[in-house]
Symmetry: C3
Subunit: 137 residues, 3 copies
């Protein structure tokens, strides 16, 4: 039997926010000893990623890398209705993750010591984002 929760997060514009604790609370409430938890963002201009939770410079450098791979305001983009960050946000979403899955063992997520789950806003303006968390065991 699956357990599911819909979470909403207010972002502050482009950047990452740690949602590990919010996901862990859904896993704890599900009472599943062994299984999987899937986290899914219902949007195409933000994404999810698992990355280092210790030095915030890692996430800052990830923005630098993404800014080169999918630059804002690229004159080659045709889709720019909502501004120079519009298409860049879709490209960053495709290069990262719309959904991530983490194993559950002993009733908790089996993340490594240095792994955190991040909601990554790719638009420069703040947005309200919906995340679906599903636990199967």
């Amino acid at each position: 039997m699956a357990h599911q929760a819909i979470l909403t997060f207010q972002t502050r514009g482009r950047g990452t926010q740690d949602i590990t604790r919010a996901v862990a609370e859904v896993v704890a409430a599900a009472g599943v000893a062994c299984g999987l938890v899937q986290v899914f963002v219902q949007h195409t201009s933000c994404s999810l990623t698992i990355t280092e939770n210790a030095d915030p410079d890692v996430r800052r450098d990830l923005e630098t890398v993404m800014g080169r791979l999918a630059p804002d305001g690229d004159p080659a983009y045709r889709h720019n209705d909502e501004g120079p960050d519009d298409m860049a946000a879709h490209a960053r979403n495709v290069l990262t993750d719309t959904g991530i899955t983490v194993p559950i063992g002993g009733g908790r997520m089996l993340l490594g010591t240095w792994q955190g789950i991040y909601l990554w806003e790719h638009r420069t303006a703040p947005h309200r984002r919906t995340v679906v968390v599903t636990v199967l065991g």
Copy 2:
């Protein structure tokens, strides 16, 4: 209990095709109220992605971005047996998704309003592609 279907799609060469409806039909037939559906492509030169389903320019711009990240005919490639798009297709596959997972709630996929599931052909020639859809609940 898992429900599974094997789907085949004929691609028309490089580009995206919306397979959301085909996946939704497998989910509806499974009769699972709450759970997950996983979509998996059995190939290494095409992929899956979830992206905006409204403006087709988004998918066109994604091709532009990918063409820069993994250009055809790069002289640095050693693997080019099947032509200049051969290695570029493998690289595009690795940068996007071989498998995607979508939550199911109320018996249907919990996609956002603007999210579509796309089969992304990375070879320039048309191919017949096999996609495995698995529903767990």
Copy 3:
């Protein structure tokens, strides 16, 4: 009911190693006819990918592509405590997969003929890596 195994692998520094057989053994032992297997790496500087298992030049070329997208020793990186490959490894991890999911049918993974599952070390030095394999059916 879920089946889970924790595997460890010794890497030889940057590069890929085929772990398909090790994952297949966990699937066989689980005795699940139809379902999903998820493979998860508990680290942020190595990753998993599914790519071609025939010509090793494909994986060599993937290193070339990654070396351009996330170059070692980029002067723009702030996070470089562990050397020029430190931040590059985190970026390569984010651009590829921390977890991959493969469908199971007839008691075995439904991989395509040319698909292999690879553990991808992004650090230049050898590391001991932990991989969690979870089977649901």
